[in-house]
């Protein structure tokens, strides 16, 4: 019997017991998950190379966590399949789980266990030898800056420490692939920056990282990205590629009084492709027009708003995302 993924394999590779060391760390093919009538993930496909930092972006509820749970072999897909480090997520889920690290936004440590006990527990679960554990413990305590806090309860640590300890526990068995589900949510900017430095170090040592986030600024840390929206991947590529087709458009950043009202007034106005708030600023996509600042100021002035400043800006990933979502809505409408 030939299994689907053996289509291209030669007799020699099929004969070896080790799974064929794939070109990709993650290979996803038409992966779907439905809960009753609801399609959480709609036949997505993607591949992630070894040593890449792959960003999986999308708003809450778009299917990010469901996808990760399928890729980790925790829940079974409704359709399609995926191979993780060469192992099939359905038929070889235990192998998958032995070969990956996983860290969620909850930093799922045992709050009522000490730092040391948490490390000891995970080391035991992955079957580390005593010598190996001693070595990894030392490395993690240094990495997470937790020397001297070995006997503190994990629950009493500050968020930054918790996050780094969680990363330590998730990587105690030195997996070559780590899934990080919103690893920086609720963490202050300094700790976030430190955390990304750790991730870059890991990637530099050849570890593949699959990171979900809804912080668009963090997406720039990634080698490649995929945007997921309502279960569909609506864009994939390097940050520059994702921004790609948007580069032709002009994005104007507008400082205006009563931003929310101005946004409502602008929606549907002629010559305005998209308008949305980004922080306290109004971002307006005026399409391929240039020199539209005066028009816009006039338009808003005519509607009774006071424009404090208008300037063209480089499209950010967030601009790209809003653009893609708008286009997706138009397609499905």
């Amino acid at each position: 019997m030939r299994l689907p993924w053996q289509k291209h394999s030669t007799p020699e590779t099929r004969a070896s017991l080790e799974p064929a060391h794939n070109e990709f760390a993650i290979e996803v093919n038409g992966l779907s998950k439905t809960f009753g009538d609801f399609t959480a993930v709609n036949s997505i496909s993607l591949s992630v190379g070894h040593g890449e930092i792959f960003g999986f972006l999308g708003p809450n509820g778009s299917g990010k966590t469901t996808t990760i749970r399928m890729l980790c072999g925790v829940i079974a897909p409704s359709g399609g399949g995926a191979r993780i480090m060469g192992y099939d997520v359905v038929t070889e889920s235990e192998r998958v789980r032995e070969n990956i690290g996983y860290m969620s936004q909850k930093f799922s440590l045992f709050q009522d266990l000490t730092v040391d006990e948490n490390l000891k527990f995970y080391a035991g679960i992955y079957g580390l030898s005593d010598e190996k554990f001693a070595e990894r413990r030392e490395y993690i305590l240094t990495m997470a800056d937790l020397h001297g806090r070995e006997n503190e309860m994990a629950g009493d640590l500050s968020v930054g420490w918790k996050q780094r300890l969680a990363l330590g526990c998730a990587t105690i068995h030195e997996p070559k692939l780590i899934f990080l589900d919103e690893p920086t949510s609720g963490v202050d900017p300094t700790a976030r920056r430190q955390f990304w430095e750790l991730l870059h170090d890991l990637a530099a040592s050849g570890v593949t990282l699959f990171v979900t986030t809804h912080y668009m600024d963090e997406a720039t840390h990634c080698n490649r990205l995929a945007f997921i929206y309502r279960g569909d991947i609506i864009a994939e590529g390097t940050p520059a590629e994702v921004k790609g087709d948007l580069m032709r458009d002009t994005i104007l950043r507008v400082e205006v009084d009563r931003g929310e009202d101005a946004l409502t007034a602008l929606e549907g106005s002629p010559g305005i492709a998209e308008a949305y708030m980004q922080g306290s600023m109004l971002h307006v996509n005026v399409g391929e027009r240039t020199e539209a600042e005066a028009d816009l100021t006039g338009l808003l002035g005519g509607l009774g708003f006071t424009v404090l400043g208008v300037e063209p800006v480089e499209p950010t990933l967030e601009d790209a995302f809003v653009h893609l979502v708008t286009r997706q809505r138009e397609v499905s409408a």
Partner: protein, 372 residues
């Protein structure tokens, strides 16, 4: 299945239990407190006591005795054993709670207007039922005396004397029936409460999610959860047993093997229910509410607080759905009468069916839940 991982999970669970300041008092103080609280309870109205009649006389007069008992509304004529040995069996198996023995020559003595005796045997293993039953029996016999011996009205000079003998628990101390019942009840409370919290707690904290992306299998996780709580329940019932027999001086006439087997089987139903609650609840608070919700009918419909006989007829069939009902018969009968597997097999069978059904359902939910 890796025992190394199961051992780690158990080690972790005990560490967490040791640090949970609210758990230790619950584990050790609750059983003792309940032992004291439930030690004495108020008597209640008992009706339709299952009554076995040994009629050695077989006369119009002896039938009048039986009718008087039945017409009082408190006694239900359920069997006519041929001799006292057969009667004893009915009492052992809880098929009869009261037995009336009408001696041979009863009618002759009544006709000759000479004083007579009838024997009343009451199962004292349920002390409330026993005390109420013997009280009723005496009333019935007193009224009967008036009918059979017209003119001799005072109770002191009554013609028929009721010789009431309370079997198994001659002193009718409430605590003698309460302590065995508490073994089962505390076992249920403890395992159901802790188990229902166990999984939902890990889900709330996100550690459940984390554990299932490690190589830990579902069976390993489940065993790692069950073992600590079974051990704790075992410590608790040992505590209740020890205090009950040494401090409350409840006589133990049973067999530890029968008692242990019954409690173990019952523990499975409680663990299964706890597991189900834990899987169906989203938060710990919900799990707690659901557990309380399940506990109340168990207490009310099992004969734990109120005798089954005092229950409205309409509700009575519901008692068959309460596993506690069966284990109560087992622990009380074994503790006080020394009843063994032979007499108690229907209860064992019922519990086996319950634990298989509840646990089976709990396990399938557990699989399904983690798959979605």
């Amino acid at each position: 299945m890796s025992w190394r991982r199961v051992r780690l999970l158990i080690w972790k669970e005990f560490l967490q239990l040791r640090r949970d300041r609210s758990m230790l008092p619950i584990i050790f103080i609750m059983p003792v407190l309940q032992l004291i609280l439930f030690g004495y309870v108020i008597g209640t109205d008992v009706k339709d006591l299952r009554t076995a009649v040994v009629d050695r006389d077989g006369s119009v007069e002896s039938r009048l005795v039986v009718d008087s008992f039945v017409n009082s509304g408190y006694f239900l004529d359920v069997a006519h054993p041929v001799d006292e040995a057969a009667m004893q069996k009915l009492l052992d198996g809880n098929k009869a709670q009261v037995a009336i023995i009408i001696p041979e020559g009863f009618s002759d003595l009544v006709r000759e207007k000479r004083p007579t005796e009838i024997g009343i045997v009451v199962d004292g293993s349920d002390s409330k039922t026993a005390s109420v039953a013997s009280g009723y029996a005496q009333q019935v016999v007193a009224a009967l005396s008036g009918k059979l011996y017209p003119g001799r009205l005072t109770a002191s000079s009554s013609g028929v004397d009721a010789q009431v003998r309370v079997l198994f628990n001659p002193t009718m101390r409430a605590v003698n029936t309460m302590v065995p019942a508490l073994l089962a009840f505390i076992l249920m409370m403890s395992t159901q409460t802790t188990m229902s919290q166990a999984i939902v707690k890990e889900r709330e904290r996100g550690t459940l999610e984390q554990l299932f992306v490690t190589p830990i299998g579902r069976a390993e996780y489940l065993i790692g959860k069950l073992v600590p709580y079974v051990l704790i329940a075992f410590i608790q019932i040992t505590l209740v047993f020890t205090i009950g027999t040494l401090w409350f001086k409840v006589p133990f006439n049973g067999n530890l093997l029968v008692l242990g087997a019954g409690l173990a089987l019952f523990a499975l139903t409680a663990l299964g229910l706890g597991l189900m609650v834990s899987l169906l609840s989203r938060t710990r608070y919900q799990a707690q509410q659901a557990t309380t919700f399940l506990m109340v009918p168990s207490m009310m419909l099992s004969g734990f607080v109120f005798p089954l006989e005092s229950m409205p007829k309409i509700l009575y069939p519901l008692s068959y759905l309460v596993p506690l009902r069966y284990i109560l018969v087992v622990v009380r009968s074994n503790f006080l009468k020394g009843s063994g597997f032979v007499a108690l097999w229907p209860q064992f069978l019922a519990m086996a069916i319950f634990s298989a059904a509840i646990f089976g359902f709990g396990l399938s939910r557990f699989r399904k839940q983690l798959n979605d």
